[in-house]
Amino acid sequence: MSILELIDVRKTFAAREGAQVALDGVSMSVERGEFALLMGPSGAGKSTMLKLILALERPDEGSIKVADRDVHRLTADSVPFLRRNLGAVFQDFRLLSEATPQENVGLPLRVVGVGTNEVRERSREVLLRMHLDPDLKRPVKTLSGGEQQRVALARALVTDPPVLLADEPTGNLDPDLSRDILDHLVEIQSRGTTVMLATHDPVVPSYVPVTRILHLDHGLLVRNEVTPRLRAISDRHDAAAAAAEVA
């Protein structure tokens, strides 16, 4: 069962030299629980695809479905509720630089009006999972790049979203820290979260046990390769669904 689906999506941006095509008729789907890798050189359309899924941009044509709901048919008031089900991390971390790690991680919970004690507890839990000190009182801007990215990951996961979108999360990190972040992403996917990782780093597929490799080039989806790991995940989900049905 697909959790993310793009059908014939086209997106252009206005530029001085005419319309710049970011995505050109892209169709693809990602199953629940997958670790999908979105690859391609800079400017291939990876970030645009993630922004479209997050409803931060609107497609010119085509439709984008998250859990069978067409993202761009949602009303403006419903879009925030979609985003609460999509964790997102970016190359530039996108953290409140003056706030502490716990304040940053608690933000998605504050948005939905969770009480202070519960926010503290859940933030602590997920920060510990990311091997960060939950009681750190320093602003996040004083942390290292790797620590900041782990704070961003913790924030993305604190609401336990079914999908995590990661846009070049290792782009600003040295190789050791990059591996650390990738290890965390693998661990997150192993708990059942669907992960979609956009990267231009060719080393990543050999390091991460991905289920699908999507390759974009100049806005075109030139490769949609399923790895043997996908069957194992599908079998796992089928078994879980069957067990639920029997129960």
């Binding site: 997050l54 008031d77 925030p80 985003r83 996108r94 948005v111 939905v112 009006g113 609401t159």
Partner: protein
């Protein structure tokens, strides 16, 4: 506590925190709003007091009928009721010598000591006649003529041209206050709009993050609107404080001057309700300015 209230609390804290991030801009905005509101407050206070002075002089009473000495009360009441029954008359008020003395003492303010030894009986009983607003101008003169024929009437005083000039002046002051209110509204809204626009640009990344984590339109925009409201309230509070300081410094001198015209007690500062109204007005202007800015610059 519901989730909505908790989110509101958080939004309020973010609004206040946001203000602390740009203290200079906020201070300039609050002071500029204060100057605008101070201007409006000064004119409003002038208007309120001018109306008080005019009331004190009794120019809003078109006709005053002074009765003879020792007129029986029932006769005075009967005449009052007969006048009140006329269709052109709105209402009448019988003013006893005791009330007249009390008014005179109020009018003299601190100079009321000059009335020591004045007996109540020395003042005449009078009837104040308030005509209908739509009654013809010549009615007062005609009624005065008829009343002068009545046996118990000593004298009838009609508001003259000077009083209508005073009322015209008051009207002009009302127009100035109204125009100023419009200008101040526009200026305060523009100031808040401009400050909040700057705040949105300065905190663009925060807005982006709140959008990403699923903040609703209201949740993302509310801290800026709260910021605008606080600016308005602070601006109004500062203006009223300055105005109160100025008023209380000048009031004794004004009282002394006005006591010469028997209207010393007419000078007053804003009531608590009016002060609250001014603060509310400031908050409303801040909210309007901020809402316009966020509607334009904060996308969801």
């Amino acid at each position: 506590m519901t989730r909505g209230l908790r989110a509101l609390g958080y939004v309020f804290v973010r609004g206040v925190t946001g203000m602390r991030q740009s203290p200079l801009v906020q201070t300039v905005a609050v002071l500029t709003m204060a100057v605008c509101i101070l201007l409006l407050g000064t004119v409003s206070l002038l208007l309120i007091n001018a109306e008080g002075v005019v009331d004190g002089w009794g120019v809003d009473v078109p006709l005053t009928v002074y009765l003879n000495e020792e007129v029986p009360e029932e006769d005075a009441l009967a005449l009052t009721e007969r006048i009140a029954a006329l269709p052109e008359v709105d209402h009448t008020e019988l003013v006893s010598p005791a009330i007249a003395l009390e008014r005179l003492q109020d009018g003299l303010g601190t100079g009321a000591s000059v009335l020591e030894g004045v007996e109540v009986q020395m003042l005449p009983t009078s009837i104040e006649v308030y005509t209908q607003p739509e009654s013809p101008e010549e009615f007062s003169a005609a009624l005065a003529g008829r009343l002068r024929e009545v046996k118990i009437v000593e004298e009838v005083a009609i508001v003259g041209a000077w009083a209508s000039a005073l009322n015209d002046g008051l009207g002009a002051l009302r127009t100035i206050a109204g125009t100023l209110a419009l200008l101040v509204t526009f200026a305060c809204v523009a100031i808040t709009w401009s400050t909040i626009r700057l705040a949105v640009f300065a905190r663009r990344s925060e807005v982006e993050i709140l959008r990403l984590v699923g903040g609703t339109r209201r949740f993302v925009r509310a801290p800026f609107v709260i910021e605008g409201a606080i600016q308005g309230v602070l601006g109004a509070a500062f203006a009223i404080t300055l105005l109160a300081f100025g008023f209380h410094s000048l009031a004794p001198h004004l009282e002394r001057g006005l006591s010469l015209f028997l209207v010393a007690g007419a000078v007053r500062f804003f009531t608590v309700f009016e002060v609250m109204l001014a603060m509310g007005f400031g908050a409303l202007l801040g909210v309007i300015g901020a809402r316009i800015a966020v509607a334009r610059y904060v996308e969801i």
